[in-house]
Structures are given as C-alpha cells and as structure tokens.
Symmetry: C2
Subunit: 355 residues, 2 copies
C-alpha cells in the first residue's frame, strides 16, 4: 500500500484528532503513515491513542508549524522550510512517501506542494478539485480555489485534469465536462469563459458546453470547470447553505412534541443524507497537477475525516494517477507561466520563480 | 398607487398566468396595471379570468414579442421596438407607468430598460439585485447578472445601490455591506476584488470587508457585492441546490408508510420554509440604476409570482426609491462608460452608444 505523509500539526483539531485519524487508517487499513510534526507532541498523542511509533507508523520531526490563520502562508512556506507541511511534502519529493495529507492552511499546503514536490511538466497551473457527492450525481468541481485569477488556457488544463480525475475516481469512461457560466449558449459568460469555450471544444474531452449553477447538483454534468475564485465561492456557498438548511430542519423537527416524535422516523434518512453530502466522508480536496498525490483536508477535520483522507491519498497513489497525468501532459510546453504563479486562496501569488 | 406596466407576453407561462397575476394584483390591491401584449390574446385571457379591460386594468397593444430563448436578446430589443417588453419599458419613460415588470428573457428586459428608460446619470452600470430571503437573515445580492464582466468602480456602485436597496426594502438603518471573496482578509481574492476593496472602504458605506460564500445565508452581512458572473452562478446554484435537497427530502419522506405518516407532521413546516425561500414570494429581481422601477420576474413565474412582482413594483415606485438613487449619484460623473456598456447575462455588450 502506498505510504502517506501526514502534516499532523495542521487543522483546527491538530494534533490530537489528526494523529487519531492516522492511527485508525494504519490499524484499520494497514496503510503506512508518516506522522510529521513536533516529535514529543506526536508521541504523546500516539500514547493517548493507545499505541506507539513502529514500522508503518513512523514519526518525522518538524520543529515549526504554519498556523491556520497565517496571513501570507505562501511566504511563510518559502521562508520556513522546517514546518510540518513543508517536510511532509518533501517526503514525497524524496520518495519516502507517496502522498501527502494536510488539514492545515490551504494556502500553505498548496505552496508547500508546489515548492517541495513541484508542478508536473506541461501543467501551467495546478488546481484543487473537490468531489461534490450528490447521491446519484456526484460532480467534480475544478478549480475550487488554487488560483484566484485564471487565463482561458488554464481552464482547458482544468478540464483535462478534472476529466482524468473523474475517470479514475468515479470510474467514468468519458466524463461529461461542462464550463460553468451564466447561460447555456456558447456566447454566454464573461470574457474568460467565452475565450475558454473554443479551447475546451478542441480539447478532445467530452465537452458538453456551458453549464449553470443550477446544473451542478444534477446528473447533467460530471466535471464542472471554472476559475478558482468562482469555484471557491460556489463550494463555500454550498457548505454554508447546507448547514443553514440543516439548522432550519432541526428547528422544524423540534418545534413540538409531535414533530420530535415524527423526526425520529425520518432522522436516520436525513443523517444519511447529511453524511453523504459531508466533505468528511470523501477525503477532502485534491491538488492536481503537482508531481505527487496531495490531499487538502478540511480545516475542521476530525479523526474520521483524516482517516478518509489518508485512505483516499493512499488509493490515489496506488492507482498511478499522477503518472498518467504526467504522461498526458508530456507533449505540452513545460515552461513556467511567467504571468503569475499558482495563486492560493490564501494569496499564493508570489510563488513565481520558485519550483 | 403607482401604475405598473406588465409585459404579459414574457415568461414560460405567458400570457395566461401573467394576465391572471395582473388581474389579481388589480382586484386584490387596487394597483393600476397596464397589460402590454397582443391585444386579442390579452382580451381573451382577461375573459378567462372573468373580467375585462377597464380603468386601472388597461390593455396596450404590442405586435411583437422577444422569445425566452432569443439568442441575442439585446440586439432583438434594439431592432424590434414594438415588442411587448420594449413598449412596457417605454410606458415608464413616457410617464404613463411608474414601473415595469417582465418575466420574459432577462437579457431582453435589461436591454429594454436601459434602451427605453435609460441609466440614471452617474450610474455607470445598472445591476440586478436579488433578495435572498433566508428567514431571520435576508441578504441582498448585487449584481446577480446584469453585467458579465465588471471593473472595480462598478463594484463600488453596486455597493451603494445595494445598500440603498437594503435600507429601503429591509428597513435597515446602516446595512452591512460585504465584498464576496475567497478569504476574509483584505488581501484575499481575485484582482477585481482586491482593487474594489479600497474603493468600498472609502465609500462611506458600512463596509465590513470580504465575506465568503458560506456567510451568505448567515446574519453576518446584509448586502453582498459581487460581479454579475459570480452573482448569477451563486444565485442559480442556490436555486438548484434547494430544489435538489427538497427532492431528496421527499424521497426520505416517502420511503415507507411510517415515514409518510411522520412527514404529515413536519410537512407544514417544510412547506413554509420552501415558501419563504421561494423567489416567487418576493417579486423577483430588481434592476437598479435605471431611471424607473424595473422588476425582472423569474421566467417560471405563475400568477402568484406575477402578483407579488406587481405589488413590489408598485410599492417601490411609491417609495420614491429611484429618485433617491438619482439624488445620491447626482454629484458623480455622468459620462458614458466607454469601455463597454451594460452587459446582460444574455450578452448585452452592444448597448454602448445607445441611450
């Protein structure tokens, strides 16, 4: 099984929940995990979890950590190479791990992956992909926030990456790729979308044209391509609205004794729906286009979410996905994108010149 | 009561549902309505509704109609000045009506309002505002799709328009205005947002900085400012996701006899929630920044939705909102925006030079 390096210092509930998730993934699935963080803290947490470091559950010391609310995580990653997220990424570059997982600052995880592992040649911009797990109609959203400004050719790259991801992860033969816009006809959209449309048409993908916000939860489309700003707004809106609606439902279900009684009958179904829609169950977002598997778990990840992220990371590494991406892009120009490096939602605009 | 001109030929259920809604608004609320459309069709529909044209319920003939799926509605509006939506807008310009309502093509309604009524001096770009009716935390979203590409100064204008709308419509003293972005800190976002931020800071509005997608359903913010592309994607995503979730809930509630039984208890609360969240109950979107009240109702409007739109249109006209906007912008440069006219979601890019 592929080995996973986990930044156990990143996340709202780090290190305890993160270590616990790693232990569960190792003990339950046999996945070799490298726990990267403050040595004494990690050993302590392992003790609390009733275990200790051993083969397949190794501790790699990191004396620094990039905080969740770091104002400029990209800069921090460049200047603090001994942070847990940097070291975890470097383990992939060095071949000691096959995948990296972090629940810390998205901007830091992104910057560390680009800086330490590096982009795949031919991929101008890495992108974050998220699986929106609508039952019966899961949808891959790409870019969910790796860049904040994109050019038309980046959207074409996102289409290729997203389509390959859907093939691999959802087992689809020819995923239907749609371009997120504000009208279905080819001429509709902002300048970026209008220019990206013909590029996607010529891409060889199964491009179904423009799709709208309302199509995302439906079975019309498998891969929704957009710039990272729009994708991140959409993703967080879905999260916020789902949590808002669950709150309203709870109010209805507790509004009277009769309603409480009735709720007990439908509650299992509702909890199942919430579970299905929960990002925790699906291992988080993946950064595509870098030379290794990189999972960016939700900041609020608990042990269960970390467990899922480690599982998905190991499976993705074993599937050979990154190699296939490298092959697919091998014919493309590999030069740096000199009009700006990958931009994190956390302002990763200054990684240019790195790599 | 302010008089409302209604494009009765526009909308998925036109003219029957639209005429029915007009009749209800006239009979129930005493609002004077001008029904603009094919004379014989309209008289026929009035007959079906058990009434006939009379003072306060007048028919204005229009021999043409811009179809919902017109590929270039802006061009169609410019070349077909006798269409129902154009004539309805012109009635406002001529002072025969105080407000216009259309459930037809958004692009056509937008183009007709700009062409026939005209922009308010000093407003470079009109914007569509939508009230997202979250119970306890209604949120004004602006721009919901009038422009597909915006400049930073447009976002500042949207902030002013949205704030004035929230004052007037929600009765707020100092609405909290947020800039939709992908991180809360001032430096986060795409180039457009980063440049708009200081403009909003200096605007004199109660600007609370960046907000994220997840803040929209909460009570953190009253007015969410964004470019029309992002706003339209967000609006349609909310619509699609709400309808998706309602479908999933229905599945749960019909999964067994026991569940059906339980559902009868909680159903009234759920229907109330759906009703509250329904765009139909709130009169649709308003186009702000033109010299008259212009309501763009949902294409799928039924009689009830049209009734609400006519009511809101009349109330808004009576409130003197447009006059206050004109006053607020009177000190600003009134010249045309020569880098591009208002852009409809339907590609209104070519209205420049008009007015």
């Amino acid at each position: 099984l592929a080995r996973v390096a986990v930044d156990v210092m990143g996340g709202d509930y780090a290190p305890s929940e993160v270590v616990a998730g790693c232990v569960q993934a190792h003990q339950g699935l046999g996945i070799p995990v490298l726990l990267v963080g403050d040595e004494s803290r990690v050993h302590e947490e392992l003790g609390k979890a009733g275990t200790s470091a051993r083969e397949g559950l190794e501790v790699v010391h990191a004396d620094d950590v990039i905080a969740m609310d770091e104002a400029d995580p990209a800069r921090a990653v460049r200047s603090r190479r001994t942070s847990s997220v940097s070291i975890a990424s470097r383990l992939v570059k060095e071949g000691r791990a096959d995948a990296v997982v972090s629940a810390g600052s998205t901007g830091a995880a992104l910057a560390a992956a680009v800086l330490e592992i590096g982009r795949i040649r031919g991929v101008q911009r890495p992108a974050i992909t998220t699986l929106l797990p609508f039952p019966g109609s899961p949808t891959v959203l790409i870019d969910a926030g790796a860049s904040s400004d994109s050019r038309p050719e980046h959207l074409e790259t996102f289409g290729v990456l997203g389509s390959m991801f859907a093939e691999s992860y959802l087992g689809l033969d020819k995923p239907r790729v749609g371009l997120l816009s504000i009208g279905e006809e080819p001429g509709k959209g902002n300048e970026l979308v209008k220019e990206a449309f013909p590029l996607l048409e010529r891409s060889g993908l199964l491009f179904i044209g423009n799709v709208e916000g309302r199509d995302i939860p439906t079975d019309r489309v498998d891969v929704v391509v957009c710039d990272g700003f729009t994708g991140n707004v959409a993703l967080k809106l879905l999260e916020g609205f789902a949590s808002y609606l669950m709150g309203e439902l709870l109010k209805i279900f507790t509004s009277s004794d009769e309603a409480k009684q009735a709720a007990t009958v439908v509650m299992p179904g509702l909890l199942e729906l919430r579970e299905t829609l929960s990002p925790e169950a699906h291992g988080g977002a993946q950064l595509l286009g870098v030379g290794g598997v990189c999972i960016i778990a939700h900041g609020s990840s608990n042990a269960r979410a970390v467990h899922a992220a480690v599982r998905v990371a190991s499976q993705t590494a074993d599937s050979g996905f990154v190699g296939r991406v490298a092959e697919r892009f091998s014919g493309r120009p590999g030069g740096r994108d000199d009009r700006g490096g990958p931009q994190g939602r956390a302002g990763l605009g200054t990684t240019k010149g790195q790599e």
